[in-house]
Amino acid sequence: MIAAARCVVRRDLLLALRRPSDVGTALLFFVIVASLFPLGIGAEPNQLRAVAPGVIWVAALLSSMLSLSRLFAADHADGTLEQMLLGVSPLGVIAAAKVFTHWLVSGLPLVLIAPLIALQYDLPASLYGTLALSLLLGTPVLSLIGAIGAALTLGLRGGGVLLSLLVLPLYVPVLIMGAGSVDMAAAGLAPQGQLQLLGALLLLAAAFAPWAIAAALRISTE
């Protein structure tokens, strides 16, 4: 079981490394979306500081969703997914491993680059830690919930747009907790409560999402 998970993680990481532009595109998208907001709403520093947590989080949501449709598509196209379904190792474990890899290549870079965006928005340096921590706890939830949508829309026409319609409403709690924790810290209050709620969401999603993903994959490939 562990060996199967490790094998999937290593294989998907290798695939991502061989095609680095795929990973880069989503990251670039995140940076571009975050850079567009000041052009739209004006570069007044106080205003930027006020909207920064929300903007960074919304950009993270969109960017994480953008890479979701690729999560199972290639495996579905070349038949690897069917082999995974037929194999002896539990599908939930394989799904969890795939989601983990997806987070490593799409979520983790966001966590690392977010302080740079925060710099653009003139956020005080004391908030970088909270921002990065909230993203560290929140982006895996996005990958887990998004993977359910990705599995359900596998091979459908207009899959990408449909996926966003299914997944974005479910992202609302993560957005509220994530941006809220940074807002709290900015207001001089302790952000621990929201971070703990984010952690609770992560545990809940990590416990149940792999089974939902497995069920969705079975439905989509039968």
Binding site: I148, L165, L166, P173, I176, F208, E222
Partner: protein, 234 residues
């Protein structure tokens, strides 16, 4: 024991079809009568509200619609879950038949809420916790319908929709509490939907009559739709 047999007997689409027609017809008649009575009580019998004037009368449509919008999502997820677990065709058909009615009531609740908000709060839309979660509920309904519409094969559409509905129903309380919490963080409760004075009994009567009418309408509309789906598929 005979009740149990009847239960299974009507779980087959073929035998359910005529029964659904009969129930739908009588529910539609009942809905019409109750709605007429409810609207009469609401518009002519119930007293004018001391604080809100005549504008409050939209609650006779707004509140029952909001109740139904939330209740129907649970019913839809219930039938979808039964369909997924026991592989019964009719349950899944019921789920997809309920979705448009639920979405309609959600939209109705938002629309009448906006009409009520303008004279009472001075704005068509405020980012109140209930309004926001109702809007997200509408998105969940639309997502369910869009997913089913995108899949050509009925079996896969049923099962995929069912899984989405179940994920949604788990998420609805989380969304509701997070939105409530977000709302209290961002702005103080400038307007409270909970009414301090206890309601006049005629107001309550009107509202309950309308709620019953909406119940019967939902039954009639869903069963009429499920008959169409049965005809389409069988």
């Amino acid at each position: 024991m005979s009740a149990a047999i009847k239960w299974y007997w009507f779980s087959s689409p073929q035998t359910f079809f005529p029964l659904a027609g009969k129930i739908a017809r009588w529910s539609a008649v009942g809905a019409g009568l109750l709605a007429a009575a409810g609207l009469y009580v609401g518009f002519f019998v119930a007293p004018t509200d001391a604080q809100q004037g005549e504008a409050y009368r939209i609650i006779f449509i707004h509140v029952p619609a909001a109740w139904m919008s939330m209740f129907l999502y649970v019913v839809m997820a219930f039938w979808a879950g039964i369909g997924l677990a026991f592989n019964t065709r009719l349950s899944s058909m019921m789920a997809s038949a309920i979705a448009p009615t639920g979405a309609l009531f959600t939209f109705l609740a938002l629309w009448t809420g906006a009409l009520w908000g303008r004279p009472t709060w001075g704005a068509y839309w405020v980012w109140d916790a209930r309004l926001t979660s109702e809007l997200i509920l509408l998105f969940l309904y639309l997502g369910f319908m869009a997913l089913q519409a995108a899949i050509d094969e009925p079996r896969r559409a049923d099962r995929a929709g069912a899984l989405l509905a179940i994920v949604g129903v788990v998420n609805v309380p989380i969304i509701y509490y997070s939105v409530t919490w977000w709302n209290t963080l961002h702005q103080g409760a400038s307007v409270s939907l909970t009414r301090a004075p206890s309601m006049a009994s005629t107001m309550l009567t009107g509202m309950l009559l309308m709620a019953l009418a909406f119940w019967l309408y939902s039954i009639a509309a869903s069963l009429a739709r499920v008959r169409c789906i049965i005809k389409e598929r069988e």
